[in-house]
């Protein structure tokens, strides 16, 4: 038996679930590297297993996203605009979605990466995955940002992280150009349909890095004055 207390004011902070969401998104994008490696080694069982793991993580991220949104009613007063947080969650959630699309396309069409572009393609994937990981790790700094109330040294660290993210995204862009030119050079040796879908996959992987960069910039807006 207790009268309501002023502590009822304190609602559940969205930080912890958001960190978890970013962690799952990061794990899911990392799995893309495993997926491509299995594909390159013609380990079809490994491909299927990896694809299942990606789908599973994407689902987890989706569920968590919905749960976080449910815990952010309009009546909450947050240290940053609610719309900014919701948008950040949406952007982070696009990373596992993109990975799911890429792996789905490649599994469904039983695609192979041609020998001629394999090295640069693998490099491209690694760079895109690194970019996405940098993004999810930046989001994991939200914890510290809330802790120090969005400024000071922690905010500066975040700016550095996002600058690194920009560099990684740029490197991914260059790797994409390299893959495209190699693919162009060999496109007469493979079937047109294969070529179309290889370009499609390359485009999606490039977008993974783009979207990762958007996450970083959204994050910076939280500390912008």
């Amino acid at each position: 038996m207790s009268r309501g207390s002023f502590l009822d004011l304190l609602a559940q902070s969205p930080v912890k679930p958001m960190l978890e969401h970013a962690l799952i998104a990061g794990n899911c994008t990392e799995e893309l590297g495993v997926f491509i490696a299995a594909l390159n080694e013609n380990d079809w069982q490994g491909v299927i297993k990896s694809r299942e793991r990606i789908v599973e993580l994407e689902h987890e991220a989706d569920d968590l996203k919905r749960e976080i949104r449910g815990h952010l009613p309009k009546s909450l007063f947050l240290p940053v605009p609610r719309a900014d947080l919701l948008d950040l969650i949406r952007l982070v959630d696009r990373l596992p979605n993109t990975v799911k699309d890429i792996s789905g396309l490649m599994t469904g069409r039983k695609m192979q990466v041609p020998d001629g572009i394999r090295a640069s393609f693998t490099d491209f994937v690694t760079k895109a995955v690194n970019t996405a990981r940098q993004a999810s790790e930046s989001v994991e700094r939200l914890d510290d940002l809330f802790r120090v109330a969005f400024r000071g040294e922690v905010a500066k660290t975040l700016v550095v992280l996002v600058q690194q993210l920009d560099v990684l995204e740029h490197e991914t862009d260059e790797a994409e150009i390299a893959v495209r030119s190699e693919l162009f050079a060999i496109e007469n040796d493979i079937t047109p349909i294969e070529v179309i879908f290889l370009y499609e996959v390359v485009k999606e992987i490039g977008e993974l890095a783009d979207r990762a960069q958007q996450v970083g910039h959204r994050l910076l807006m939280l500390i912008a004055k």
Partner: protein, 421 residues
């Protein structure tokens, strides 16, 4: 007059029981608000919190509770209209205690965030306006009390906002937070000691026969604050960097240092609460005691008897021991979001505001002051998420409590009048 002489001692006993009961209610429920933050932030264990609360609630009530008690006792009603019917004042004050007690019981059952202060002030204004006459209420004083109910949460919010911003600028913004915290936290402890000591010395000790000049008080308060800061420094030297992480469910090294600071602010909060809220139980009792001991002289200029404050202080402590620990436990479990670096800011701001109100003889609501303080930290971007709906709920129960307390005390007044004549 005959009623006072005839039933004097039995009325006195009933009033003592009612006052003690109300104090018990304050101890068992309101104190949780003062101590819950510290337990929740793991700054104090449950036993530690009870111990701190007992000592400092008692000290606050006894040392600094006199001013507000005087307001409740004779500031709200103008007793000159009651010179020929002093027993009405006795009935009224007893009705007010009973009304506040019952209303708080109802609020506890439904979980409404109701303030004891509002209930008792509403009850006293209610019976005197309706049963004695609208002109018997000192509306000027009531007006200043009512405005203090608006000013105190706002003031606490402004102070807590400033405190948290200062913590940011001095400690949180920097890469070497740990060292900076060690350096600056004793400063905050000094402020805690200085403010509490200063208000007590300036306003509280009159009934104990101690009168100090302002420079003397300032000197003692500075010395007191410095001693506390020294103790704090000593305690902080035991905090070592372990790299513990909040993600492992532990307090970080930084928060463990703020937890030490929070022990001090918790003491201040308990002291402030005691100094202001004991009056709700003891003020009406003091009025009754005064009339009966003077044989029916409502205008008698007697000093507040010390034992009356003791009744209230012991009631609060008993409430804490019998039921308060359970409430603190429940409240403490609810908080994971208010870490010591935030909790101390809210506590210090609220304690300062309440103690200053006590010094200015204004009965304010500790709960509402804490609400204002938490919102202040929130506005400084210090709190993960605040449920704004709760503020509306609190304001609503604020508004409902006044007429509720008033109607109940009017009802009990006529009941007493029916029984004793």
């Amino acid at each position: 007059m005959e009623i006072i002489t005839e039933y004097g001692s039995s009325l006195l006993i009933v009033a003592c029981v009612l006052g003690f009961f109300t104090a018990w209610g304050i101890g068992s429920n309101d104190v949780a608000n003062a101590m819950g933050t510290s337990v929740g932030a793991k700054a104090l264990t449950l036993t530690g919190a009870i111990l701190v609360a007992c000592v400092f609630e008692f000290a606050g009530a006894y040392l600094a509770g006199g001013e507000v008690t005087e307001t409740i006792r004779k500031g709200i009603i103008d007793p000159s209209l009651l010179a020929s019917t002093p027993h009405y004042l006795v009935y009224g004050m007893m009705s007010s205690l009973l009304a506040a007690g019952i209303w708080l019981l109802v609020a506890s059952i439904f979980g409404w965030p109701v303030s004891t202060t509002h209930a008792i002030v509403g009850a006293i204004v209610g019976f005197s306006a309706v049963c004695i006459g609208v002109e018997s209420v000192s509306w000027g004083k009531v007006g200043s009390i009512a405005s203090s109910w608006v000013v105190s949460p706002v003031l606490a919010g402004v102070i807590s906002f400033g405190i948290f911003k200062s913590v940011q600028s001095l400690i949180l913004d920097w890469p070497d937070q740990f060292q900076r915290a060690k350096k600056f936290i004793p400063g905050y402890i000094f402020i805690v000691g200085f403010v509490i000591c200063m208000v007590t010395l300036l306003k509280g000790l009159k009934h104990l026969g101690i009168e100090l000049s302002t420079p003397e008080s300032v000197g003692i308060a500075i010395a007191f604050g410095a001693i506390l800061a020294g103790i704090g420094r000593f305690l902080l030297s035991y905090v070592k960097e372990t790299g513990a992480d909040a993600r492992q469910g532990k307090l970080s090294d930084l928060e463990r240092m703020f937890a030490i600071l929070m022990v001090f602010t918790a003491c201040a909060m308990a002291f402030a609460h005691g100094s202001n809220d004991v009056a709700n139980a003891v003020g009406p009792l003091a009025a009754v005691v005064n009339i009966i001991q003077s044989g029916g002289q409502v205008m008698a200029q007697s000093a507040l008897p010390g034992w009356v404050l003791l009744v209230g202080a012991s009631g609060i402590v008993l409430g804490l021991i019998t039921l308060g620990y359970r409430v603190i436990e429940t409240v403490g479990r609810k908080i994971t979001e208010l870490t010591p670096s935030r909790g101390f800011a809210a506590n210090l701001a609220a304690a300062t505001t309440v103690v200053v109100a006590s010094g200015a003889s204004l009965p304010v609501s500790t709960t509402h002051t804490l609400v204002g303080a938490v919102l202040g930290v929130g506005l400084a971007r210090g709190i993960g998420a605040i449920d704004v709906r709760v503020v509306g709920k609190i304001i609503l129960s604020w508004i409902v409590t006044l007429p509720a307390g008033a109607s109940l005390s009017i009802l009990f007044f006529y009941t007493f009048k029916g029984i004793f004549g």
